[in-house]
Symmetry: C2
Subunit: 221 residues, 2 copies
């Protein structure tokens, strides 16, 4: 990355410029970590993931690369941390879901809202798609964290449906896992990033209807 | 690509060396096209997709780049053609499926055999994964061709289940589309490339069971 680009980013990352000139205030490890992530995210956003190095991030922060390395040894581990942070934020969506709606409605809202949230993020920052491919290619931990929380949430919805008397599933956790996998076509960023909005809307409705029909079937185990 | 690499590839692509020294026999456009695809595929395989240029492919074939451009204007269009050829071959698998087995068994075999076929290809040639990401990122036509044939095949299986009296679906085509989407987690190369074999085996069984339960439900429309 050249000097002009760095100057541009400097103007757009407040955390990198709020020390007194030449003297950085002492920070806790957590603060430093968050600062590195903010700066890395801003650099990836403006320059693309591939063209930014750890040295660029360190220079932007006025840190030594060794200091950045203490927190993140590779660019992948940075991506993992950025993605995990973003996933945690996305999953806040789940907490706002209406717990009193019928289970089938909640399942649709869950899939639909997550899909929309992913689409919005990808639209706002196209570099995110490249980062997602990194998380897929390198099997980063963030994917597992997402899966864990999603399956737990789907299990709760299915259990509510069983309690309501509309769903007939015995092994709720196993079914929730299958439902999560079936939903990959509408919630996995790679599956939706380049798809048209109307196609995705239909896809989401139809796949949730399929899962719902299976849940209502007395044959579901 | 350097000269030594080119010499290596020359030894491994028979189609590039079967002319009389210095004089290439005249070929039909279709033959030239196939020859370009074979050579491009071999070069991608040995050097990775990103590092091979159209000029490299032309040099390897002893053609002018302009001649290659006449057939393929971009590297993406080459990937599209290579992927389409590979998909057509994979889909031959479908023809060998036992049409007399019960519909639910056929659905499982379809998903399972396709998943295995994709895994085998990715294992044989890791560069394929990178090419797949290109097809996803650039929305190449090959994906649509695959989808079309798959939905047709799934429709036939569902219709057979309806005729058998085990499935209760009215809008077979619409349901086949939803089933195809739900199966993305086991047949889309990006979804399976880095996943462990036992996890995939379970995932395939459970997702097909989910689809099967939905198809057996009198509520499925």
């Amino acid at each position: 990355m050249d000097r002009a680009s760095r100057a541009y980013v400097s103007d757009h990352v407040s955390t990198a410029t709020d020390g007194v000139a030449g003297k950085r205030p002492r920070r806790s490890a957590d603060e430093t970590r968050a600062e590195i992530l903010n700066t890395a995210e801003a650099l990836f956003r403006s320059h693309g993931y591939a063209s930014v190095t750890i040295a660029d991030i360190a220079a932007e922060l006025g840190m030594s690369p060794a200091n950045v390395f203490k927190h993140f040894r590779t660019k992948s581990s940075l991506v993992d941390a950025i993605a995990t942070r973003s996933i945690e934020k996305t999953l806040q969506v789940l907490k706002t879901l209406d717990g009193k709606a019928p289970a089938s409605q909640r399942l649709f809202t869950l899939a639909h809202d997550l899909m929309q949230s992913h689409l919005k993020k990808i639209e706002e920052a196209p570099y995110i798609f490249e980062m997602i491919l990194v998380t897929v290619r390198e099997e980063l931990d963030c994917g597992e964290r997402f899966q864990e929380i999603m399956i737990e949430t789907i299990s709760q919805i299915i259990q509510a449906g069983v309690d309501e008397g509309t769903y007939f599933v015995v092994d709720v956790d196993r079914f929730a896992q299958a439902a999560f996998n079936a939903l990959a076509c509408v919630i996995h960023p790679v599956m939706i990033a380049n798809e048209k909005a109307d196609i995705l809307a239909t896809r989401c409705r139809e796949v949730v209807a399929l899962i719902d029909a299976a849940l209502r079937s007395p044959l579901a185990k």
